[in-house]
Amino acid sequence: MRLVLAEDNALLRAGLIQLLSDRGFTILHAVDNAPALDVALQDPEAEAAVLDVRLPPGQTDEGLRAAIAVREKRPGFPVMVLSQYVEHLYARELLASGVGAVGYLLKDRVADVAEFVDGVRRVAAGGTVLDPEVVATVMARRREEPLDRLTAREREVLALMAEGRSNAAIAARLSVTEKAVLKHINSIFTKLDLPVGEDDHRRVRAVLAWLRV
């Protein structure tokens, strides 16, 4: 998988390059500023991008804007956005930029190498990976139709789905069997009136409904 990488901190950039290339990714372009990122994202060879939100020269939310812009030009282009802090607002904007193939994680999560790389793979495969901190703020909100039809357990499952976890991982986390997780997920799909279709797509749609995008 050929990646575009944008990170202005040289140490972190080197770390990410090593970490991702060790695990079978090819770093096509590694850039440290927004204009260079815009050029790199035009490369038709690129298959996905891992971007820092805050980039020179503006040091605000250039990475996020680049992510949204590239997904406008290339619908479904997988982007993993990393940030020193997470905002529910930014998660919504990212999710609104097309169905699936987005990730939004705190930079600290990179420390858990296996999980981080797994997240990038899931995003590249069209999945949605949200940081547990975003998920927690959404959990704290008062529930509204149709989500208040979900049981407490189903909500837990949905939250873990939003974090981009597989059925097996969800089962392990909740100490239940995979079959039980599957049952919960089917029940969530029914309660949210999601059309029958490819399972991955329904997962993403369930997460979107939950974030009210």
């Binding site: 605000t60 802090y85 905002e87 607002l89 919504r92 609104a96 008062r142 995008v213």
Partner: protein, 390 residues
């Protein structure tokens, strides 16, 4: 009122109008004496409460009469005499009366009533008589303007603060807000120091200890070393989270990225209750104002989450007539008081540094509405991506 020309650009007042003013002032002299007497009576009767009722009724009448003379004097002298009264609070009549009593202008009005209905009356009467006596017309022709000038200067002396007095008041306000601001900054620095000391700093110490012990255990007890490194990683994660929350408290990154509008939207999204946000800012306010208003809105929203029991809340941000205005409301139980916590007090102090104000309306049973206002200009709009669909 707003369509009137500025005083300075108006033509000077003619003799006819001057005399009309004089006539009106003559006619008002008797009611003014009556007002003064009622003030004295009301003042004496305050010992049996009924006097308070008289005073409450007298204040608006006196002020209306005084304002009328302010306008006339302003026209004659070709300058605007501003309404000098302290703003009245929204509370009950007693709260309003308290502000009236401590307002020095109330007492100047009272003195003015006495002087205006004697010396002032004589000046105005002279103008009217010079015209009415027919044979003195030529005196009137020359004397009307200077006489009315004299009368207006007399009124201005009592009814308007002089430049020096206004400057003294301004210095007083600036001294107070500056002292508050210094206190506030010092308290903020202490809080930051504590947060860093108890949070990130303590965790980094623990981290260094874990790593030191791991280094020693590496050869003899690899399992223990592995556990210690694992601990160290967890401690690092908490230290980073601590630093993140400290940074948010100093200057939220989303405020830097998106400005006040975006940051308030982000705040609203994180609330447990649904919050309607309406933003009408064509540009960005200066950064310190942005930050003060942001923390003001954040404090209001936090209070809504903690105390109001509201099912809905709303935030409005707009800039009009050189003032940035933020309105935060909720449909909760009401009964909020700005003195209840230190939070709102801090917000008020922070806004006061920019001559900003905070007004709270929160009757029992709700709704609670907090209005923050700061005079400021907006810089040219910064291009931001269109916000996500609601």
């Amino acid at each position: 009122m707003t369509t009137e020309l500025p005083e300075a650009e108006r033509p000077p007042v003619g003799r006819g109008r001057l005399t009309a003013y004089a006539g009106l002032q003559v006619l008002l002299a008797v009611p003014m004496i009556l007002l003064f007497v009622l003030w004295v009576v009301g003042g004496v009767l305050t010992i049996v409460w009924v006097g308070l009722a008289i005073l409450v009724a007298l204040v608006p009448v006196t002020r209306a009469v005084a304002n009328l003379h302010r306008r006339m004097a302003g026209r004659v002298l070709g300058q605007r005499l501003p309404d000098p009264y302290r703003p009245l609070p929204d509370g009950g009549p007693m709260a309003r009366l308290r502000v009236v009593v401590v307002d020095p202008m109330t007492w100047r009005d009272l003195g003015w009533l006495l002087v205006a209905s004697t010396l002032g009356f004589a000046l105005s009467l002279l103008v009217v008589l010079l015209l009415a006596a027919v044979v003195t017309w030529f005196i009137w022709w020359y004397a009307a303007a200077p006489l009315m000038q004299a009368r207006s200067v007399l009124d201005r002396f009592f009814l308007s603060y002089s430049r020096t007095e206004r400057l003294e008041q301004r210095v007083q306000v600036l001294t107070e807000t500056r002292a508050d601001l210094v206190d506030h900054s010092a308290a903020e620095l202490r809080r930051l120091e504590r947060d860093l000391h108890d949070g990130a700093q303590a965790r980094l110490v623990a981290l260094s200890m874990s790593l030191g012990m791991a280094q020693e255990a590496f050869d003899e007890d690899p399992a223990k070393a592995r556990q210690l490194v694992e601990d160290a990683r967890e401690t690092t994660a908490t230290a980073i989270a601590d630093l993140r929350s400290v940074v948010r408290g100093i200057h939220p990154p989303v405020l830097a990225d998106r400005g006040l509008g975006g940051a308030v939207q982000a705040l609203a999204l994180d609330m447990a209750v649904p919050v309607d946000v309406e933003i009408n800012l064509p540009g960005r306010p200066p950064a310190p104002v942005e930050s003060a208003v942001y923390f003001g809105v954040a404090e209001c929203l936090a209070n809504i989450g903690k105390h109001s029991g509201a099912a809905r809340a709303w935030v409005g941000l707009a800039h009009r007539d050189g003032r940035l205005r933020a309105v935060v409301g909720d449909d909760g139980c009401g009964g909020a008081s700005p003195d209840a916590g230190t939070g709102m007090l801090g917000v008020m102090r922070r806004l006061a540094a920019f001559d900003g104000t905070m007004a709270l309306s929160s009757p029992e049973g709700g709704p609670t509405i907090v209005t923050l206002e700061v005079p400021c200009d907006l810089s040219s709009p910064k291009t931001t991506p269109s916000s996500a669909p609601a």
